[in-house]
Every structure is written in structure tokens, then in C-alpha cells.
């Protein structure tokens, strides 16, 4: 293991530092670059101990890894090892090596002669060309065409022109509502104060146009637009569960036990807290959403199960250019 070797080397380094101190230096033959500096005893010993502590940390990491690899102990041992190493390096930089402050001249960034030469080089190289505009145009055309050829394969990434796919929805008249486990949703199961997440029977659950939130309000509390009369049999309301703002799932249903002293019924998105009013057909009460939650007209079939009575009142999911708000 390289760790063992490393530990060994650190130990050697520590021992050498301890033992080799005070040995005479070879006489200087050439002019010194750095000032003569003598590291103090205490500093050398301190750095050596820090290195040994780092070694212990590294060894500890190996041991912890072999003995079950508890995350906290792993982090602690390796973290402390590196912290000791950091301390050793910083102390070493301060106390073991000569301290110099140097003044370095910046030198010129501007090279007038070279600038002129480069300009001249470029200019002279094109001097003999007479059909300058033709060549420029041809080169430009080549550049454009090849650029297009380079970019076009990117269109394979996705059906870039098929934005009608964003408007497709499985919710058509007659589609049954099922719960998360695929069981048909009975109208009776949705009492006032309950919310249930529903999906289209026989369609994928995980697309933005799929999940619904189903609730029941007292019929006298409904204030749906006139064209939506009959959409809410027995006060049952179904809305797209996906917020029209940023596509998060609406899993917050505010249902006041006593409306006079509490905020009224609302469907709320937990991402940016867009708040929708189910009684008016999903209008935005608060928050950033720019359009109402799409509502699905409901009907109750002979077996008492909920079915779609038509398409949703608007596009599901977040808005984009082709969405009619």
C-alpha cells in the first residue's frame, strides 16, 4: 500500500529532521541567492511532530477503512491528517526556509515592435490577392455551410419540431380515473376534505399530462365559469396535478375545517407556492403561476366510477410559447 510507504517516508523525514540538525553546511562557493537562515530547534521539532501526526491520521484512515469504514471516522482521520499536513507546510514555510521579500519588475505587456511586425505579416500575406470580395464571400459561404453541417446533427437530439407532443394528453372523454395502484376511483370514495391523486387508466403515469388531483367541494360553494356547468358532479373536481408555473406536483390541499377563521380551500404547489382556487375552476389566488390549473370535466359511470367527461380545460404542465393561456 502506498499509504504504508508514505507513512514510512514521513517517519524517515521526521527522523532525519530530528537527527540531522546542526550538521555543518558545506561552505558556500558562489554568491548566495537566498539569505542564510537557521531554522530554530522548536520549529523543526514542531514541523516533524505535525508530519508524524499527519502520518498517524493517514494510518488511522487505512485502519478505519479495513475495520468497517465508518464514514465519520474515515472523514475525521483523513481530514485531520490533511489538517496536520497543512499546518506542517505552513509552519515549514514560515520557520524552516528563508523568508524573503522580493521586488519583481513587471516587464512590459506592450511590445510595439512585435505588434507592428505581426500586423505587417498579416497584411503582406494578402497583398497579392485581387478578387478580395469574391474570396471573402466564398470563404464566408463555405464557413456557413460547414457550420450548418456541424450543427444539424444536433437536431437528432430530440423531436425539435414536434411541439404538438407537448400538448398531447391521455385525458379524453370516457377515460377512467384510477388511483396510484391502478384501482378505479369510485366517486363515493372522495368525501369533502379528502384529496386523492388519480391517473388515466391504461396510460403512463409519469408524464406531466397524466396525474390529477381529485377533491370534492360543497356544490353550493362552487363558482365555476358558466361553460363548465356539469363538470363537477356532486361537487367533485379534478385538476391537473402539475403546476402550470414550473411543473412541480401539487400535493398540498388546504381544506379549512371552519372557513370563517381559516384560509379557504386551495390547491398549493410546494415549489414556489402558487395557490389555486378549486371553487372557481383553478384560478390563481397567489404566487407566480401565470394561468389557472387545467380542470378535467368529470362524469360518474354506471358502476359509480369516475371518468373524464371531456378533455382538460387547458394545456397541462408549465407554459411555453404554444400554450394558450
Amino acid at each position: 500500500m502506498s499509504f504504508v510507504r508514505r507513512v514510512g517516508r514521513w517517519a524517515t523525514a521526521g527522523v532525519v529532521l530530528l537527527l540531522a540538525r546542526g550538521r555543518p553546511r558545506p561552505p558556500a562557493e558562489v554568491a548566495r541567492i537566498l539569505p542564510l537562515h537557521r531554522a530554530g530547534d522548536r520549529a523543526e521539532l514542531a514541523v516533524a511532530s505535525l508530519l508524524l501526526l499527519a502520518a498517524a491520521g493517514g494510518a488511522g484512515f487505512v485502519a478505519v477503512y479495513l475495520l468497517g469504514a465508518d464514514t465519520q471516522l474515515l472523514g475525521l482521520s483523513l481530514g485531520l491528517a490533511l489538517a496536520f499536513l497543512a499546518a506542517a507546510l505552513v509552519l515549514g514555510s514560515r520557520a524552516l526556509v528563508p523568508q524573503v521579500e522580493e521586488v519583481e519588475e513587471r516587464g512590459e505587456l506592450v511590445h510595439a515592435r512585435e505588434e507592428a511586425a505581426v500586423t505587417q505579416l498579416v497584411e503582406e500575406s494578402g497583398e497579392g490577392i485581387t478578387r478580395r470580395r469574391l474570396l471573402t464571400a466564398a470563404a464566408g459561404t463555405a464557413g456557413l455551410a460547414l457550420g450548418a453541417a456541424l450543427v444539424v446533427p444536433a437536431a437528432s437530439l430530440g423531436p425539435v419540431l414536434g411541439t404538438d407532443r407537448l400538448l398531447r394528453t391521455p385525458w379524453q372523454r370516457g377515460r377512467r380515473l384510477v388511483d396510484a395502484r391502478g384501482r378505479p376511483l369510485a366517486a363515493d370514495a372522495i368525501a369533502e376534505g379528502i384529496f386523492e391523486i388519480a391517473f388515466p387508466e391504461g396510460a403512463p403515469k409519469d408524464t406531466l399530462d397524466s396525474p390529477l388531483v381529485v377533491i370534492r367541494l360543497p356544490e353550493e360553494a362552487l363558482r365555476l365559469p358558466d361553460e363548465r356547468s356539469g363538470w363537477a358532479p356532486g361537487g367533485l373536481l379534478a385538476f391537473s396535478q402539475i403546476c402550470t408555473h414550473a411543473g412541480c406536483a401539487i400535493t398540498l390541499y388546504r381544506w379549512p375545517l371552519f372557513e370563517p377563521t381559516a384560509p379557504g380551500p386551495a390547491l398549493v404547489c410546494p415549489c414556489h407556492y402558487s395557490t389555486f382556487d378549486p371553487a372557481t375552476g383553478g384560478d390563481v389566488l397567489f404566487g407566480p403561476a401565470g394561468r389557472p390549473l387545467p380542470q378535467l370535466p368529470l362524469e360518474i359511470d354506471g358502476s359509480g366510477a369516475l371518468r373524464a367527461a371531456g378533455p382538460l380545460s387547458g394545456a397541462t404542465g408549465p407554459s411555453w410559447w404554444g400554450v394558450r393561456a
Binding site: 477503512y65 469504514a69 464514514t71 474515515l74 472523514g75 475525521l76 483523513l78 481530514g79 490533511l82 507546510l89 505552513v90 515549514g92 514555510s93 514560515r94 526556509v97 528563508p98 523568508q99 524573503v100 521579500e101 522580493e102 521586488v103 519583481e104 519588475e105 513587471r106 505587456l109 437530439l157 430530440g158 423531436p159 425539435v160 419540431l161 407537448l166 398531447r168 391523486i197 403515469k205 409519469d206 408524464t207 397524466s210 396525474p211 408555473h245 414550473a246 411543473g247 412541480c248 406536483a249 400535493t251 404547489c269 410546494p270 414556489h272 407556492y273 390563481v284 397567489f286 407566480p288 403561476a289 401565470g290 408549465p318 407554459s319 411555453w320 404554444g322 400554450v323 394558450r324 393561456a325
Partner: protein, 444 residues
């Protein structure tokens, strides 16, 4: 021995004169010059831990039944991606340490970049001849934020799924082409296909790190070419750099900083839990959790998305500007636009096109400092608004009231911050003598 090694190198590369020059490169002594290095070393930790994670992660939405060690999810259908991250966290020895260290490093990476940027901005270090260095740096900040977002979006846990839903909505909100863009990127309407996951995976582990690496190289090359700036002081002139040479003092110190950065990140990674995806559970489009937040460096965007009032101009069957555009696209464009344009703006205002190697103290240039603080305050207000929900839960101040407060504050507080900062600078400094006009005369 040393002589032989140096000789060996020189005979084979002729590089020793360069090495000699490099070893004598002078670093000015000031703590704030280490912030950029901190970001650099965090990047190294990110690459190291990240490579380790790729050895275990599987970028696929393919459904599998979870059969690993974490009991509450046993038997649940999850994606392969999520499964592999759970295995990495529960069954791979040191896997969780690496994952958490990686995630902490991502958070600290952006912290270091932002601190570095603040230093550069408020000391005027972006001025000629360092505009390129500055533009490259701001670009790296943008890439780092994107890189981080893609990283935690790979896992397919509840939070990452909600984040991707929002990202999808933001992309879809681009006027005219939003619908086409999401189909291009996601390959199908949200949640898209496994190809999408492969794409952000390649982006996260290859393209963006490569781009960041290349930009770091350019950034450092430019720094060496122009040499460091320095604060005013005895012997310090526009034409020199005073400080500690790379060898021996600074190299050891800088390596020490590298170890300290790695130590801090590993200690966090081992001791402080981050993004416990097993607790969030897997994502499905119909699931969500309260208080879902992005990582901090996107907190300003969630704040902007939440602050925007319900407004969506539309007519003739088209939605011109879907609401998430304002917070998710326009706002960051304005902020980054400001950062990119500032050197030009300042040059235009001051007419100062001279070289500047000596730094300003923030108080020395009240109008720049005040403008910077105002913009920073603006972003900070939006950022704080993003945490209003948690503040409601902890402190009981109603959410709607907070949102209305911040909707006003984003207009009022930056102005106040501007006036206050300018006043403070003038009080602290030399009476505001260094106005924009006088700055041009500052060349030496």
C-alpha cells in the same frame, strides 16, 4: 543529487530557465489573494472525488426494484441511477465519504469563487490589463453553477426530480423556442428519456469539467502573463510586484492551503450529512415535498421564481413570456450581464484606459463600491426571499407578507444600500476626492 535532477531535466527539455523564472515568481502577501487559490484547490478535490463516484454511478432511468441495505426502500421500484447512488452510500466502503465530500466541495467551490469575485470587483482588479482574466473568471462562475446543478440532478431522488421539473419549465419558458428546446434536450416531454440522463451525465463528468479545466488554464496563464496585482504600500509601484517568491516560501504555503481545503472538505464530508438522498426517496412526477430547495448557489433563482407575481402576457393563442422566464432566465442574465459589462461601463464612465496594477481599497472608489454593494444587495434580497417558506415555519411570519415585503425590498434596499455605502466610503476614505473623473488621472 538536486544538481543531477536539474541537469537531467534541462538536457531533455531546456526548460530550466523557465523553471528558474517560475520559482522566483512573486506573490503579493495578502490573505484575499488566496480566495482564488481556494477555488482552484476545491476544484481539484471535486475532480478527485468525482472520478471515484463515476466508478459506481449508473446514469439510467431504467426502473429496478431496490434490494439494497436501506430497509425503508426495499422492494420499491426506483431508477438504476438512484439505486446505484444508494449502493454507493450504503455498500461501497468510503463511498458515502467521497459522495458527501464531493457535494460539500461543490457548495464550497462556488462560495470560494463568489468571495474571490467580490475581492476582484471591489478592488478594481478587473481593470486593464486584466479584463480577459476577469471574463474567464465570471464564465467559470456560470459554468460552476450549472455544473453543480447537473451534478445533484443526476441522482433522481425527490429533490433532484423537482429541480429538473423546474429546469424544464425554465427552458420551456424561453419565448418562441422554449417548446423546441425542451424537446431537444429532454428528447420527449418531461421527465424525458434515459438519453437525457446520459446527456447531463456527459455534461457533468466530461464537458463542463473539461471546459472548467481549460478556462482555469487560461485564467492562470493570463495571471502569470500580467502578474499579480497588489495593494498600495511602501515600495509598491505600478511597475513592480512586492511579495514572497514561489520558492521556497510561497509554494509551501500554497500547498498548505491545498491541504487545508482538502481537510475542511473531508471533515465536512465525514461529519456533516449532505443531501441524504435515501431520506428524500425516489422521484416521480406526481410526488413532491414541502420546502424543496436547490443548492445554495441556485437559491437566488428560486427566490426570483417565487417573487415574480402571477403575470404571463399572452394573445392569439400564444404565451409570449411564460412566467418562469423572468426569474429563471431574465434575472440571471441581468446579473451576469452586469458582471460581464462592468469593466466596459467603468471604462466608459471614467474614461480611464490606463494600466492598473495597484488595487483600490473599496473606500477609495465610492461609486463603484456603492454600485457593487447595491447589485449584491439586490441579489441577496432575492436570495433571502427564496427562504421565506422556512422562515414562516420557524418564525411564524406569514409567507405572503414576506413575499410582498421582498417584492418591495428588491427595489428599495439596493437604493438604500447604494446611498449608505457611498456615504460610508466617503466617511472612511479621503473625503471622496477620488471621483470617477479623478480616477483617470491615477495612472503612474
Amino acid at each position: 543529487m538536486i544538481r543531477r535532477a536539474v541537469g537531467w531535466l534541462d538536457e531533455r527539455s531546456g526548460a530550466v530557465p523557465l523553471v528558474q523564472k517560475g520559482l522566483r515568481y512573486v506573490f503579493p502577501d495578502h490573505w484575499s489573494f488566496l480566495l482564488g487559490e481556494m477555488a482552484l484547490y476545491t476544484f481539484l478535490v471535486l475532480v478527485g472525488t468525482g472520478v471515484y463516484l463515476t466508478l459506481f454511478f449508473q446514469p439510467s432511468y431504467e426502473p429496478v426494484v431496490y434490494d439494497g441495505a436501506y430497509e425503508p426502500l426495499q422492494g420499491r421500484e426506483v431508477s438504476q441511477a438512484y439505486h446505484s447512488v444508494l449502493d454507493l452510500s450504503f455498500e461501497v466502503k468510503a463511498g458515502l465519504l467521497m459522495r458527501q465530500t464531493h457535494h460539500w466541495a461543490a457548495n464550497v467551490f462556488v462560495v470560494a469563487i463568489v468571495l474571490h469575485l467580490l475581492r476582484i470587483f471591489f478592488t478594481g482588479a478587473f481593470r486593464k490589463p486584466r479584463q480577459l482574466t476577469y471574463y474567464v473568471g465570471v464564465t467559470m462562475l456560470m459554468l460552476a453553477v450549472l455544473e453543480g446543478f447537473l451534478g445533484y440532478s443526476l441522482v433522481d431522488d425527490l429533490l433532484s426530480g423537482m429541480g429538473l421539473a423546474i429546469a424544464y419549465s425554465v427552458v420551456a419558458s424561453v419565448p418562441f423556442v422554449g417548446g423546441n428546446l425542451v424537446l431537444l434536450l429532454w428528447e420527449a416531454p418531461f421527465p424525458g428519456t434515459s438519453d437525457f440522463l446520459s446527456r447531463i451525465y456527459v455534461g457533468h463528468v466530461l464537458l463542463l469539467p473539461l471546459a472548467l479545466g481549460a478556462l482555469i488554464a487560461i485564467h492562470l496563464t493570463l495571471i502569470v502573463a500580467t502578474k499579480h496585482t497588489q495593494f498600495r504600500g511602501p515600495r509598491r509601484l505600478e511597475r513592480n510586484v512586492v511579495g514572497t517568491p514561489l520558492w521556497p516560501g510561497y509554494a509551501l504555503r500554497s500547498l498548505g492551503l491545498m491541504c487545508a481545503v482538502a481537510a475542511a472538505l473531508l471533515l465536512l464530508g465525514g461529519l456533516v450529512q449532505i443531501n441524504p438522498v435515501w431520506l428524500w426517496g425516489p422521484y416521480d412526477t406526481w410526488l413532491s415535498t414541502n420546502g424543496a430547495q436547490p443548492d445554495w448557489y441556485l437559491g437566488w433563482l428560486i427566490g426570483a421564481l417565487r417573487l415574480m407575481p402571477s403575470w404571463e402576457p399572452h394573445a392569439w393563442g400564444y404565451t409570449f413570456v411564460p412566467n418562469p422566464f423572468w426569474g429563471g432566465v431574465a434575472f440571471p442574465l441581468v446579473v451576469f450581464g452586469f458582471l460581464f459589462l462592468w469593466p466596459t461601463i467603468e471604462r466608459r464612465v471614467t474614461g480611464d484606459d490606463a494600466f492598473h496594477h495597484l488595487l483600490d481599497r473599496p473606500r477609495d472608489v465610492p461609486w463603484r463600491t456603492a454600485t457593487g454593494v447595491a447589485v449584491f444587495t439586490w441579489v441577496a434580497c432575492v436570495f433571502l426571499a427564496g427562504a421565506s417558506d422556512r422562515f414562516f415555519v420557524q418564525a411564524g411570519v406569514p409567507y405572503e407578507e414576506q413575499i410582498w415585503f421582498w417584492r418591495a425590498a428588491v427595489f428599495v434596499l439596493p437604493v438604500l444600500a447604494f446611498l449608505l455605502t457611498r456615504r460610508l466610503c466617503v466617511e472612511l476614505g479621503d473625503g471622496g476626492r477620488r471621483t470617477p473623473a479623478s480616477l483617470g488621472a491615477d495612472r503612474s
